[in-house]
């Protein structure tokens, strides 16, 4: 048993976990920009510094395991001052276009600057000369907004296991980029978009959400309509315009957690495709003619009745669907069996 004290609250741990996670257990959220419980701790942003009694220097709580007897302070005036200065350094090397940045409202840097009252950068800004990478359909990469937290690098390496991104260079000239510094392309990237989802700033943004403010979108939890893995995610809905804008992952999804693939994350424009069928169609002289539901249902019921009377129930067959819901499938087979009277019902299970 490991006994520690965090901000005066005693805590007992079964096994050594990092201090940042330990603090969460007693309701204390230590600020950070590069930590994710799913990823290897990196200790890069230094915002999660805490004081440990008996030690001269503060330590990064994400990378320090709890030890028996530790007395930890997470929010002393000195720690707050260090965090303010770190944030000051970060925004001094960051464009201040928050008014029009796509990440506004979900930017962790913005949130922490607000929390710590860091309003104006104190150091001169020397903007890097790196062109935007937007030659792909899913994301915009704006390196000037990258704070080198390395979350994208680790999520690509450890969760998607694709190894597309890496830290390159040192100091002010360091970047996070692809092999050969090429723009993102399907040739080497699986386009899952998880780097975009985990980016704490506007360095990586999802093209589908461009033009929408996060608070304008309603989230509806549902299940992916493609392969049989069973990923769940949130559809982000522009309610006013009856339009699904895009997809965000949800940590508590039982099968996939925060992971999605290119199809799961980027498919939603098919929902509002111009090519969707919008009205019943009846073929007359080889051409489809729009019809009302009444006309279509009457015609089907009449023709089904006639053909059943003439040829019997087993002249009917029904193809149900592995793409439709359980409720649709139940109703379909019940219709074939109870109304038509045949077991000629099947679907593509075998193909």
């Amino acid at each position: 048993m490991i006994r520690i004290t965090i901000d005066g609250i005693p805590l007992e741990l079964e096994k050594p976990i990092n201090l940042l996670e330990a603090a969460k257990l007693v309701g204390i959220n230590i600020p950070n920009l590069c930590y994710s419980p799913e990823l290897t701790p990196y200790g890069g942003c230094r915002l999660c510094l805490v004081e440990i009694e008996g030690r001269r220097m503060p330590v990064a709580s994400c990378s320090r395991l709890a030890e028996d007897g530790m007395v930890v302070r997470t929010n002393t005036p000195q720690i707050r001052e260090i965090r303010r200065e770190l944030l000051n350094l970060l925004i001094s090397n960051h464009p201040m276009d928050c008014l029009t940045c796509e990440k506004v409202g979900t930017c962790d840097l913005q949130r922490l600057c607000y929390e710590y009252g860091v309003t104006t950068p104190s150091y001169p800004y020397d903007p890097p000369d790196i062109p935007l990478d937007d030659q792909n359909p899913i994301m915009v990469r704006d390196q000037s907004k990258c704070i080198k937290c390395g979350k994208c690098v680790r999520v690509c390496r450890e969760i998607q296991v694709s190894n597309v991104l890496e830290h390159v260079g040192r100091g002010f000239s360091s970047t996070v980029t692809t092999a050969g510094d090429r723009p993102i392309s399907r040739d080497f990237c699986r386009m899952c978009g998880q780097c975009v989802a985990i980016c704490p700033t506007g360095a990586l943004t999802n093209k589908e959400f461009a033009g929408y403010r996060p608070w304008e979108l309603k989230k509806v939890r549902t299940t992916c309509p493609f392969c049989g893995t069973g990923c769940t995610f949130d559809l982000n809905v522009d309610v006013k315009n009856n339009r699904v804008v895009g997809v965000t992952a949800c940590e508590d999804a039982p099968i996939n957690g925060t992971q999605l693939c290119v199809k799961g994350r980027f498919h939603t424009d098919f929902i509002s495709s111009e090519e969707r069928l919008t009205t019943p169609l009846i073929k007359k002289d080889g051409e489809f003619v729009p019809a009302s539901w009444n006309e279509a249902i009457n015609l089907i019921a009449t023709r089904f009745g006639e053909i059943k009377a003439k040829h019997g129930a087993n002249a009917f067959s029904g193809l149900s669907s592995a793409r439709c819901t359980n409720e649709d499938n139940y109703t379909f087979q019940k219709f074939m069996r109870a109304v038509i009277g045949t077991n000629n019902v099947d679907h593509c299970a075998r193909t």
């Binding site: 359909p137 049989g228 069973g230 009917f316 669907s321 499938n329 299970a349």
Partner: protein, 547 residues
């Protein structure tokens, strides 16, 4: 799946056969890659060098269609070396002796000749699989889409049973289901031989049960399977087909035969979200809501039932599928279709489906889905199957003899064509997503550099691919992912409808088509504008999107 997706992470060994998991089931593929990164051993059996194959401890690029011989060969080695689990075999299985007898003749020498795999690799695979307890088998349609599909599945079961790999965590036999709700559609009895919950249509008890529940006498006659329906249509006996959300013309094998079947019927109704190739042949097309416009449930591969929720209204007059069926049923004077919402349908279903009996919409909401069997309202659901005992007592092993595929390459058709999916698309729906289509706007048939050189082809050149049944054109991608003498195409593109090439040779039990083995020939063709109008249009769209 006997086991659950997240058990992959704790497996000691993954035996992946006939599954390009990182493309067809990307999230399960991620978990496999994460496991391998953390030291889990990986065996990949696939004629292609897939992404997983490049990470594998052992990649067995077997000759397509020789799976049964391979599995028999592995069992031969396991039994010869005494690596089987005798206690498990004795207490939990029956029929072992017949399997033992049959695999005697599948010596490494014989199997190596059939599969094209070195004997050392066979030995290594057998040793790896038998010596790890938490060893799961994962397969998809590379196993089932063969004339020997059913036997292949039974044989994988034999392999797992003789080594005691069923009924424990992070092991088992795991078919990764291809569609979001193929598990659910089967569970719901959208099959010609069973009611919901796999209750046989020929069993007097289930006939009585459903007749009483639905208030009408139900048929005790086995129904027809899809290929039989189509054959009956061509023969003139099948008059009506009612299709909900399927596109057999594009996705069933031997497309020209399927088209003929549809043209032979008197009355065809198709309920769809897009004007599919099948819908074009219908007499009446009904507009359906898509998943984002529906309330309901899907059942994932790991038997987890999860909610689907309405996010937006359907376009125009489109309606949810079950509502359309109800409208037709009521117009025909049927009773028992007065459902007010999807939850009422679910309630009736669970009252008749023992595996789902303990599930309610409230529970699915609060417990993040439930895995069947879940027989009572207090049952927590089932993470993995067959712990301690099989439903029928002992698992029966059935020996499986190797029979080659129905079609072989020959002088006239020298290339072996394999079909499947790619990462960026899912069947045909994703083609309607301009974004996804811009990533993969056209078919790129994979051919080996050897064939490319022989025909003087460069990347994205166009070829004509011809089989005994049809002929299509496609662009090529030159890659050693495919072996010399074989090629790979997807079935996502109606401009390159690969199922005009595939054969309607079927597995005798399930009637699954042999999509994975077709003999074809290829030739270079020159680009002609009018012929590729559709593709050029898509190219233009791509350029607009990226500039």
């Amino acid at each position: 799946m006997t086991n659950s997706v997240n058990e992959v992470l704790d497996a000691e060994l993954l035996f992946v056969i006939g599954s390009n998991t990182t493309e067809a089931h990307p999230i399960i593929g991620n978990k496999m890659k994460q496991a391998v990164r953390n030291g889990t051993k990986l065996i990949v059996v696939d004629p292609r060098t897939t992404e997983l194959a490049t990470m594998a401890d052992l990649h067995l690029p077997l000759r397509s269609g020789s799976d049964a011989a391979l599995i028999n060969g592995l069992m031969h080695i396991i039994l010869r070396e005494g690596w089987e689990d005798r206690e498990y075999i004795e207490t939990r299985t029956e029929g072992f002796e017949a399997v033992e007898e049959l695999v005697k003749k599948y010596t490494p020498e014989v199997v190596s000749a059939i599969t094209d795999l070195p004997e050392e690799d066979l030995f290594e695979a057998a040793k790896l699989y038998a010596s790890h307890r938490k060893a799961g088998i994962f397969y998809t349609l590379g196993i089932t889409e063969h004339t020997s599909g059913t036997s292949n599945v039974m044989n994988l079961a034999n392999l797992a049973l003789i080594t005691g790999h069923v009924g424990i965590e992070s092991a088992g036999i795991n078919p990764l289901r291809g569609q979001n709700n193929v598990q659910g559609a089967c569970d719901m009895g959208a099959l010609p031989d069973v009611y919901p919950g796999y209750q046989k249509v020929t069993d007097p008890a289930s006939i009585a049960r459903f007749s009483e529940a639905w208030g009408v006498p139900v048929s005790d006659k086995l129904g027809l399977r899809i290929p039989e329906m189509l054959d009956a249509a061509v023969a003139g006996d099948m008059k009506v087909m009612y299709v909900m959300g399927e596109d057999p013309v594009l996705t069933d094998p031997d497309a020209n035969h399927v088209k003929k079947a549809f043209e032979s019927m008197e009355f065809v109704v198709v309920q769809e979200i897009f004007m599919s190739e099948t819908a074009k042949l219908a007499d009446v097309v009904l507009p359906a809501a898509c998943y984002a416009e529906k309330e309901g449930t899907f059942t994932a591969s790991e038997r987890r039932v999860q909610r689907v929720r309405k996010a937006v209204n359907p376009p125009g007059q489109a309606k949810q599928d079950w509502e359309i069926i109800v409208a037709i049923a009521e117009k025909m004077g049927a009773e028992g279709f007065d459902f007010l919402n999807s939850e009422e349908v679910f309630e009736e279903m669970r009252s008749l489906t023992p595996q789902y009996a303990g599930m309610t919409y409230d529970r699915l909401e609060n417990e993040r889905g439930l895995q069947w069997p879940c027989p009572t309202l207090t049952h927590p659901g089932t993470k993995y199957l067959h712990k301690g005992v099989f439903p029928r007592g002992k698992a029966t092993m059935v020996p499986v003899e190797y029979k080659g595929p129905a079609e072989h390459v020959c002088d006239e058709y020298p290339i072996l064509l394999i079909t499947g999916r790619k990462l960026g698309h899912y069947n045909v729906t994703t083609r309607y997503s301009a974004l996804l289509d811009s990533i993969n706007p056209f078919e790129e048939a994979e051919i080996n550099p050897r064939e490319a050189e022989a025909l003087e082809l460069v990347e994205h050149d166009t070829i004509r691919v011809t089989s005994r049944r049809g002929s299509i054109v496609t662009r090529v991608q030159i890659t050693d992912r495919v072996k010399p003498g074989s090629m790979f195409m997807t079935f996502h593109y109606r401009e390159s409808p690969v199922n005009e090439l595939t054969q309607s040779a079927f597995d005798p039990i399930t009637l699954t088509g042999e999509y994975k083995v077709s003999a074809v020939k290829i030739e270079k063709v020159e680009w002609k504008d009018e012929q590729y109008e559709d593709e050029i249009h898509r190219f233009k769209r791509l350029e607009l999107l990226t500039h």
